[in-house]
Amino acid sequence: MRDFEEELRRALARREPPQDFALRVLAMAGSQSKLTALAQLRLWFCRVPMWQFAPALAALLVMSGGGIYKQHERVAHGQQAKQKLLTAMRIAGSKLHHAQDRVFAIERREMMQ
């Protein structure tokens, strides 16, 4: 059983999507609301079908996708680092406070003896 299941696991090992997969997703995610606004604007003023602008829009999305992705990445890393820092400082502060209180307790006891 083990040999065959191991072969199966190997055969079904995860594969990586294309390198620009995340970039494209982010570009499209970012453009979901932009497309709506842009489409409304075009229809109102120009009455030109959207498809005529699709190639230019697609090029713009791909170019801006890199910038959007980098910005998202920076924000994600920054927020993670901030949370780690707050956790670390809370622990540090708490342990120091704890040590201080223990010293006080001992000194109070010694004073009362």
Partner: protein, 200 residues
């Protein structure tokens, strides 16, 4: 990912109070972000679609759609664990629905899959490729159960939750699929090589 399926131990003490989401090593303090979830889970989502559909462009398209839907529904998802479950459930059901609607099932019967050449040095990769094709030929629910079990390492209960089936049914589906795959592999590889699989 298996670890996230386990129940967390009851929290107590200063450490647990301070860090609201802790696994053996703290790697994800703070609320998840879309970029983080995209980077963390893109392989999982793409691979489930790929192993199920055996079509790269379809797998990409489905995976992309799932993440765009995740982006639209972001506000309603609470935790990393919830997001993981949501992604697995959505890609699984999308892939199954897609396959049923378009009748996208690799039109290769198990009998027609080519024999791996056991005498060549690339035996392992050929066998893997062969197994992949065989898995893709299974009926949809069996196929997805096998992918979730052996690609993702999910427990039967987790698979049952994702597929909306009973655990016992998942177990039966997997056993049947394994029996079928094993016997076909044994046949294809011939008695010498296949014997080690026939034993099981």
């Amino acid at each position: 990912m298996v670890g996230e399926g386990q129940q967390r131990k009851e929290r107590s003490g200063l450490v647990a109070t301070l860090a609201s989401s802790v696994t053996p090593v703290l790697t994800d303090v703070g609320p998840p972000t879309f970029v983080e979830m995209l980077e963390t889970h893109k392989s999982m989502v793409y691979s489930i679609a790929w192993h199920f559909l055996r079509d790269r462009s379809l797998a990409e398209e489905l995976a992309q759609d799932v993440f765009l839907e995740l982006h639209r529904n972001w506000a309603s998802l609470k935790s990393r664990q919830h997001i993981l479950f949501w992604l697995r459930k959505v890609i699984t059901h999308r892939a199954i629905d897609f396959a049923r609607k378009r009748k996208v099932r690799p039109e290769i019967s198990l009998e027609q899959t080519g024999e791996p050449s056991v005498s060549e040095s690339g035996h392992d990769s050929l066998l893997s490729s062969y197994l992949e094709r065989m898995v893709a030929s299974l009926p949809e629910k069996q196929r997805m159960a096998i992918v979730l079990r052996y690609q993702e390492g999910m427990e039967l209960e987790e698979i049952a939750q994702v597929l909306g089936m009973k655990t016992a049914t998942v177990k039966t589906q997997i056993f049947r699929a394994l029996d079928l795959l094993r016997s076909k592999t044994a046949q294809r590889l011939g008695k010498g090589q296949g014997a080690k699989y026939e034993r099981f």
